[in-house]
């Protein structure tokens, strides 16, 4: 998903879930921030770089694709953008390496999503926002895995856009290219270069399908190698509407709902009065829906939604004293990100896979490798207080 959904649509969902305008802004800011929190950014503000939730193209190009580098990539992308659906999935063919990668395929409503949302219950609004980013991405990024893998993530010539016009349905082949400029009318989109190395960074996530999964209007079908010659039909308008309703449900629960977060539940009743408008925005054929979502959000709350800027977190964090940094928006986001990375690394490790690296448990809490020293110090500090 892109800024339009992670920032503006999340604001709308938070507001509908009952958060105030100011709280909704904090939530949506942190829902967008996982796409901006790179090592380069964190190093620039002297924050722990291990809390990175994404990588720039330059950072990825700079990462070695040896086992250590691949584990680093997987920890970031599987934890925040391609949440694995079923780490115990049974695969009847292939070896252990294939099985481990197959199990990282993202899909909504998995056990890890339940853990992700329940983990941020009672935590900061920044943690809530981060969890909403992960939840929303499980819908957009389904069928791709957050680890570089040709066998899982590659696409082939079987890739069609499904179009509906006045009740008539048709299909046309998607033309992928590597030069700038995407054209909706010509069905021409950018994707990553074809590279037949299993662990090439070109085969990370939905890179080989370009930005298609991130466009809410897109309906398409494609045939990944792992699906036994069966095509997958992906209906983004339907999936994005489900994502929106599930975010409302999740945030209603996080604001003080009783019990535990359950998967497969959607707050369609809350969204119902706005369904037509929401579906209109989602289905509108455009590469960027920020303006429409912004107008809808401002109509909902009657307040202005400022444009997203990474500087909001940066300036607050840089101006805070060393002891107060954890109490800033970025400080709280970092702690939430480390906890999420730690939990996902641990779950992948416990499934018998080393794709995300080693994980050890300390004091009954899930702790990853040295990346999570900051988290450990914070937890111990809280215990001693």
């Amino acid at each position: 998903m892109q800024l339009d959904f992670h920032y503006y649509a999340t604001y709308c969902a938070a507001y509908l879930a009952g958060y105030s305008h100011e709280e909704s802004l904090k939530v949506c800011y942190s829902a967008q921030f996982p796409d901006n929190c790179t090592r380069t950014f964190l190093a620039g503000v002297k924050a722990p770089v291990s809390a990175a939730t994404t990588q720039t193209a330059v950072e990825m190009a700079d990462t070695d694709t040896d086992p250590i580098g691949l584990q680093d990539i997987t920890r970031i992308w599987a934890s925040f953008h391609f949440l694995p659906y079923d780490l115990t999935a049974d695969v009847k063919k292939g070896g252990k390496s294939y099985k481990n990668k197959y199990r990282l395929i993202c899909n909504p409503n998995g056990e890890l999503l339940r853990e992700t949302v329940n983990q941020v219950k009672g935590k900061s609004l920044e943690a809530v926002g981060m969890a909403m980013h992960i939840l929303a991405d499980t819908w957009a990024h389904r069928y791709f895995a957050g680890t570089p893998s040709l066998v899982i993530n590659n696409t082939n010539s079987y890739f069609y856009e499904i179009l509906e016009q006045n009740g008539e349905w048709s299909e046309r082949p998607v033309r992928f290219k590597h030069t700038p400029g995407e054209d909706i009318e010509k069905c021409s989109y950018i994707n990553s270069l074809a590279y037949d190395s299993e662990s090439s960074i070109m085969n990370l996530g939905h890179g080989r399908a370009g930005h298609l999964p991130d466009y809410s209007f897109m309906r398409y079908k494609f045939m990944p190698a792992w699906n036994d010659h069966k095509f997958i039909y992906k209906d983004n308008p339907e999936d994005y509407y489900h994502a929106f309703c599930q975010m409302i449900y999740a945030m209603t629960y996080l604001r003080g709902g009783a019990g535990a977060f359950e998967t497969g539940v959607y707050a369609t009743d809350i969204a119902k009065p706005y369904e037509a408008e929401i579906r209109w925005i989602i289905e509108k054929r455009q590469l960027d829906a920020c303006t429409d979502w912004k107008v809808f959000g401002e109509k909902l709350s009657g307040q202005e939604i400022p444009d997203f800027s990474v500087d909001t977190f940066r300036s607050e964090y840089e101006s805070a004293s060393a002891e107060k940094k954890d109490d800033t928006g970025l400080g709280r986001f970092i702690l939430a990100a480390l906890a999420q990375k730690s939990m996902i690394t641990n779950r992948i490790y416990r499934s018998g896979s080393l794709l995300a690296g080693y994980s050890m448990e300390y004091d009954g809490t899930n702790v990853g490798i040295k990346d999570y020293l900051k988290l450990l110090v914070n937890r111990r500090g809280r215990v001693s207080k």
Binding site: Y158, I162, W169, H229, K230, D235
Partner: protein, 164 residues
């Protein structure tokens, strides 16, 4: 078309995609093997020259081997490109299937020849050379057979599903 027609896949369509995928793979193999056939022609010439040493007497034979190698290269590239094209769902080129059957049959004969004449092959090309030639020829036969079977099944399934 209805949405269901475009988004729900029948078992026949799944099988069709399987054979199309197989056709593309074996078509690709043909293109790669075409280079092998040319390389094999050069290896044959060099081995024969080393074995007999009489260049003048072998000139007609060398010419024939080179012509056969080049013709084989062109035909196999045509075969591979046609098979891949049909595998991708592009316009069919019917003659290539006949060519595929001929190539598979000749490959089978070649394997039998290599087996029965193995000792002589060992003397001319060495033991490793003879084994490698036989292994490559068996692989080639498998790819050609797969191409023919896949192409026939793709056409049959296309007729059944009304896509022909």
């Amino acid at each position: 078309m209805t949405k269901e027609e475009l988004t729900i896949q029948s078992p026949e369509n799944i099988r069709l995609q399987k054979y199309r995928s197989s056709l593309m793979a074996s078509g690709g193999a043909m293109i790669i093997f075409s280079l092998w056939t040319l390389l094999r022609s050069f290896v044959q010439i060099e081995a024969k020259l080393n074995y007999r040493g009489d260049t003048e007497a072998l000139k007609p034979w060398i010419t024939a081997i080179l012509i056969v190698g080049i013709v084989e290269l062109v035909l196999m590239i045509y075969l591979g490109i046609s098979a891949r094209g049909e595998g991708m769902g592009r316009k069919k080129r019917r003659p290539y299937l006949v060519l595929g059957i001929i190539v598979a049959a000749l490959s089978a004969v070649s394997i039998l020849y290599l087996i029965f004449d193995f000792q002589v092959e060992c003397q001319v090309y060495g033991v490793i050379g003879a084994i490698v030639t036989l292994a490559v020829e068996i692989t080639f036969f498998y790819a050609a057979l797969d191409l023919v079977v896949s192409a026939i099944r793709v056409r049959k399934l296309e007729e059944e599903t009304g896509r022909a």
